[in-house]
Amino acid sequence: MTDVPSAEFNIRDYLRTELFPHFMCPGCGHGIALRALLWALHELGISKDNLAVVSGIGCSGRVGAYIDANTFHTTHGRPLAFATGLKLARPDLKVVVLTGDGDCLAIGGNHLIHACRRNLNITCLLLNNEVYGMTGGQVSPTTTEARYTTTTPSGNHEPAFDACKLAEAAGAGFVGREMTLQTPALKNLVKEGMSHNGFAFIEVLSDCTEIYGRKNDLGESPEMILAQKAEFRSKDYGMERDEVFQPRSLATGVLSRNDHEEYTAAYRKHVLSKASS
């Protein structure tokens, strides 16, 4: 492959530097998530030429364009469906989907559950910032209850999704969650997910400082990142003990795995081998 990156991770080897500075707001967690992804790619030795990044619409959707790879910025909610076609057509490509909480869980919810069920070898990074940032800060399926958004002027009255439980129940081969604060841990989780032969769903707890943070008085970027530390617990921590005190805490780390057959392998075995011309 061409453009073999240097042994030491230099993020600029993986970025379209001519597009920088990127368009995200100051302190947006998506940038940190992108770093973790690129770092994981580097450590896995995945070639940029062989990498396809598919994203949808929203802030998360625009992140993909900064990666120096084959990047596809598709329609709202559809990156998983698009990636399904791409991966089936080109099993040789490493396919990563970048999506957001609105993109993946609201308009694209149907595609998510079926992508989990099919268990195609795709890695899906859900950049969860609890809000529709691009359109100005409307409520999303993962907005914490009682938080303010531009469409919940008296506080969000809808319960939030636990995206990882949803993915696990729908049959995803690998499910994990990590916060941007723990960048190396996030990188390792992405590595583990990408190495899994099947659908890997990774929820990245990102943050929207400028719109969501401001609206809810959550402080500046440093405060919002630190708040992650208070709100989330590693799965190994034994969180059941302090659930009483931390009703919002979500587990991070590898949350579930299964050994369901990968889709293309199943297709080869059950369909292609039986087809006689």
């Binding site: 030491e8 990127h22 368009f23 100051p26 940038g31 940190i32």
Partner: protein
């Protein structure tokens, strides 16, 4: 209401008055234009206000057209026909100058400089060429009725930096026909109750500033002002860790400054991260990992991946 009772009969103007208010997201362009539009409406004029909020994101370009007169049809101001141009940010002011009526138009521009992400496009590493190069002297030489004011400075001096918009409103009020008391009444309605006094104080300061505008003095003061410059990181001996900051990529989120365990970094007066104490750096890379803008690279001697 007081304003209504004092309302003059709408002046028969030959054509609508055009006020163009520009800035970047988060500055309050829309607030300023709402104040003006409401004032015009209460004065009995037909008002049209049309605006674009960039991408609903901070830092993007935002503009608002306010047109008022006996009867206004089109909501937008054609190029070269703005009677008053109010810019809350320096580069935006420069960018919209062609919209100003060339002979008699008045421009109020805040000298505050905010480098928007898009203005940095296509800039090579280390270069600072993307931002406008015009200086205060340039614009004053070019546009006869130009007022370049440091609204943020004036408001900060009054102890309320967040009310710099009211300073601009005060300055702008000198170019329009409405009496100051009517302006103040509207401002009271638009700002949070706790900040009314502060905003009115700022309005007065802005108005006084414009009325006692000292063109020559200002020209002299700004004679040596240069476009935004960014310091390049200092050189360090090779045996220490080295923090390299791409100033053009930094958006000033403060994460690196706050998370550095050794307190190596500071925000400079341009809200850009800078290495203040390079000798303290241990090469832990937390600043690099958490920088959402990819602006920081930490080089450690003899590092292995």
């Amino acid at each position: 209401m007081a304003v209504a009772s004092a309302k003059p009969a709408p002046r028969a103007v030959a054509r609508p008055q055009n006020v163009l208010i520009v800035g970047v997201g988060g500055q309050g362009v829309i607030m300023v234009s709402k104040v003006l539009a409401s004032l015009c409406q209460l004065q009995g004029y037909d008002v049209k206000q049309s605006q674009v909020h960039g991408m609903a994101k901070r830092g993007g370009t935002v503009f608002s057209h306010v047109r008022y007169g006996e009867r206004v049809y089109s909501p937008t101001i054609p190029e070269g026909e703005a009677d008053v141009l109010v810019a809350l940010e320096w580069a935006e002011g420069m960018r919209w100058l062609p919209y100003l009526e060339q002979k008699n138009g008045t421009v109020f521009v805040d000298t505050q400089q905010i480098v928007p992400p898009f203005a940095c496009r296509n800039r090579h590493r280390g270069a600072v060429g993307g931002y406008v190069r015009e200086t205060v002297a340039d614009i004053m030489a070019h546009v006869p009725n130009s007022f370049a004011l440091d609204a943020l400075g004036i408001a900060t001096a009054l102890g309320v930096p967040k009310a710099s918009n009211s300073v601009l409103l005060g300055a702008m009020s000198t170019a329009l026909e409405f009496p100051p008391d009517d302006w103040k009444e509207i401002i009271e309605r638009f700002v949070p109750p706790k900040t009314v006094q502060a905003n009115l104080k700022c309005f007065d300061s802005g108005r006084d500033w414009a009325l006692s505008f000292d063109r020559d003095g200002l020209l002299e003061k700004h004679a040596e002002s240069a476009p935004l410059t960014v310091e390049t990181p200092r050189e360090k001996p090779d045996d220490l860790s080295h923090i390299d900051i791409e100033a053009n990529w930094c958006k000033g989120c403060d994460i690196c400054v706050r998370f550095c365990p050794e307190r190596c970094l500071v925000m400079n007066d341009q809200q850009i991260a800078e290495v203040a104490y390079p000798e303290r750096c241990t090469g832990c890379r937390i600043c690099e990992w958490l920088c959402p803008d990819f602006a920081i690279t930490v080089k450690t001697p003899g590092a292995v991946a």
